[in-house]
């Protein structure tokens, strides 16, 4: 039943794409930016937004109360604006990978690429270039280009409310597997891009987390300006 539903929706999507691409007028169809909880990628101008990228969501709770997932990363290609199957994890096809709060870039101990990253303080809009004195870090497990831990890299974890929030004003400068540059900002860590209320029940906080919502600007020509 589910399978046939999925088949049907893929068919439907294909039909819609087919029809819309058939339109002769060059009308820009308005991008659907509503966040309904599903994985979605759309581009507006220079900025590509990704909604609800699932990063190893929680599948169970250990006997001592620790939530756990399958332990698998979700791989993403910034150059192609799409997810990459994990069978391609040892290739240059991906640029960034997510698992829980861990973020990998394709280089060093994480992959064969020419990737790297560092976290820059500032607003996404205000950063117009990779500054000349930048040093890109590469993953050297267990140390990563995007540091792990609350308050150290891209997020703060509140032990009282058990909620995780991306630190505002932290932008990841990413070098892709092929050595090109992107700036990337994590917007939210929860499904539909909305952090649950601090008083929400634990099962809501557990079941809606590890859904990455982020945006980035990729410079395809290899220059350091955005």
């Amino acid at each position: 039943m589910l399978k046939s539903m999925r088949k049907f929706s893929i068919l439907l999507a294909a039909v819609i794409i087919a029809f819309s691409s058939c339109k002769k007028e060059d009308v820009v169809t308005p991008v659907d930016t509503t966040n309904d909880g599903s994985f979605k990628v759309f581009t507006q101008g220079k900025v590509t937004t990704v909604q609800n990228l699932i990063a190893d969501t929680i599948i169970g709770i250990s006997p001592i109360g620790q939530p756990y997932g399958t332990g698998k990363y979700s791989f993403y290609s910034i150059e192609n604006n799409s997810l990459v199957p994990s069978s391609d994890s040892a290739t240059n096809r991906w640029d960034i990978a997510f698992r829980g709060t861990s973020i990998l870039t394709n280089a060093g101990t994480s992959g064969p690429g020419n990737g790297g990253a560092f976290v820059q303080v500032g607003t996404f809009d205000a950063i117009s270039a990779v500054s000349a004195d930048s040093t890109f870090r590469t993953d050297a497990a267990p140390l990563y280009a995007i540091p792990l831990g609350s308050g150290k890299g891209w997020y703060n974890y509140n032990g009282a409310s058990n909620l995780l929030t991306p630190i505002p004003g932290r932008v990841m400068m990413i070098r892709t597997a092929s050595g090109k540059y992107a700036k990337l900002e994590i917007l939210n860590y929860y499904k539909t891009g909305i952090t649950p209320s601090s008083t929400a029940p634990d099962d809501i906080k557990i079941n809606t987390q590890r859904y990455y919502n982020f945006r980035y600007t990729f410079q395809a020509n290899g220059s350091t300006t955005f």
């Binding site: 509140n158 995780l164 505002p168």
Partner: protein
Amino acid sequence: MKGIVYIVLLLCCCKNAFSQEKSFPDSIFQKSLQEVVVTATRNERKLGNVAVPVTVINQKTIRQAASLRLKDILQEQAGLFITNGFGAGVQMQGLNPDYTLILIDGEPIIGRTSGVLDLNRISVGNIKKIEIVKGPSSSLYGSEAMAGVINIITDKSFQPNVELGLRYGTYKTFDGNLTASTRIGKFGVQAFLNQFNTDGYSIRPYSVERTSLPISRSTAQIQMQYRWNEKTALNASVRYNYEHIKNELAVSNNGQTVNSSGREINKDLNVSAALTHRFSKSVFNSLRLYGTRFEGSQKLTTTNAGGYDDYFLQHFMRAENQTNFQVSKQINITTGIGYQQEKVRSSRYDDKNSQKENSVGYGYFQTEWSPYQKLSLIAGFRYDANKVYAAAFSPKIAAKYAFSDRLQIRASYGKGFKAPDFRQLYLNFTNTSAGSYSVYGALEAGSTIAQLDAAGLIKQYENDFYALQNLRPEYSNGFNAGFTFFPLKKLQWQLNIFRNDIKDLIESRLVATRINNTQIYSYINVKQAFTQGLESNISFLIYPCWTFNAGYQFLQTADKDEWQKVKAGNYYYTRDANNNTRLLSRKDYIGLPNRSKHMGNFKIGFEAPNARWFVNMRALYRSKWVVFDKDGNGIYNRQDEFADGFVQLNLSAGYQLKNGLRFQVGTDNALNYTDAANLPNAPGRTFFAGVNWNFKKQSSNNIKK
């Protein structure tokens, strides 16, 4: 209609009062300045002569407010806020509960959990008065007296008397008091018993879990005095407090139910003896011995693998000798030396059989100088030396000037400190459930990490590792300045402005990472903060019926490092609902969490001219306080990060018969304000009724007949 009649009656009574006014020679407030207080100078001094801010809460106020536990009466004072978490703690001048010293008859109460001394452990049934000194007082009291000192002074009159009080209220809250005292020749004795029970309550919607648990507390105290003559006396006291808290709960998750059963038992024992002797008219000596013990255990058993067993035992012993010299009419000197020893065993550190101890030797010296009547000056210091952490030197200076009977001004500066606690020194904790991180006390971290490194288990040292060293105490520099002003004979206005600069605050920091990527934390002196504000108290009397009190505190706080970064404008950002990020501006910064900018109270009391009955209303206000870092930038800056402000209204009325019987009824939180998330310790509206019988009042009334 009936109400109107009463109001008219009340007004009539006050009209009489006004007509009688001329027969009262002195303002009642001027009299209150004659009240003798001891905490501010460790000497008996008239309140009006003390150069530091002191508040006195007397027994009548405590009784008319129908307070049972220390928390109940402190929460009605301007500038004191009761915090939740690890029991009810008191926040003074914006400083955490860790930094207020709490004494019973001048001796410290121990048994703090995460720095909080639970004020519910102390019954106010046999209290004569409470003296509150604000501002650093370490120059006399040593560690913990950073924000101030709260000294609970028990009744030691030893008049032949028996008093029995019983009270019952909402949530099966029962309180019973029995006090008996007598004097046989040179020997005086007083016994006090208190039993307090409550069934707890639940104010969380859709939850059977109790917000407040069923509690039983029993207190017994015996005080004795032997007075050889006018010059020499021996006082001794034994106090025992037993507290039992039950916690039964069932948690359902995905159809599975986990039952857990917990109990917490806390036992306090305090034993003190003081020998006082007046060598001459100008030399008075007191030798005090004090020992106290606090034992706390918490046990939780569950039907699944969870559960824990926690044990904590603390001993504190002290010998102290103080001598007061009256050098001349203008100069008084107080000096003392003491030695104290503290021992702790706890499952919270490494194992509960390993004993940690520290001893402190100290001396203090204080001069009070009144070069002429209008001016009095205090200068003093204390030095605390010990073997575990850095020594502390705590000076204090204070001055008071009386322009007239109507206006006095005062100013003081003091340095306060809080010694590192045993947890910060000795903790040896590894959390096996959440990521296997470890926390080592400052005295343990260096050697433990060195051992791990020798075994090849350390991957990396963090920058803060190199900051590890012997912990210093946390310090504050406190300034207080204010006045007492009588614009009218029956109108008193007290104002105090304060500023506390706190440095070397101890926090846990990541110091190293193990090979397997588990993290090691320890404690270092890192943070700096300040609190500043003003406190105002206005009292107005319409003798003999009405009293009006209005108290207010304005408070500003900041973490200094955060504030520097906010001012620099290149580190902290915030995000709005649409995920637009912007740089934080100065006016966004709120400061330290759990502090209200505005706090106030307004109290109206009416007492019948014959003192037979009274009615009072106490309204307590607290403005919103920040609790939550919603935008995840690590600091508090958003308007939606606050808990709501509130007003709590308490009412009480009492009637006294000639035969020594008193009746009292009342309601607390009459507006039924609750906030399960942020005020779990405040139940909804509660009612109570009580009766009190005083043997002496009965007999004295009989004598009058």
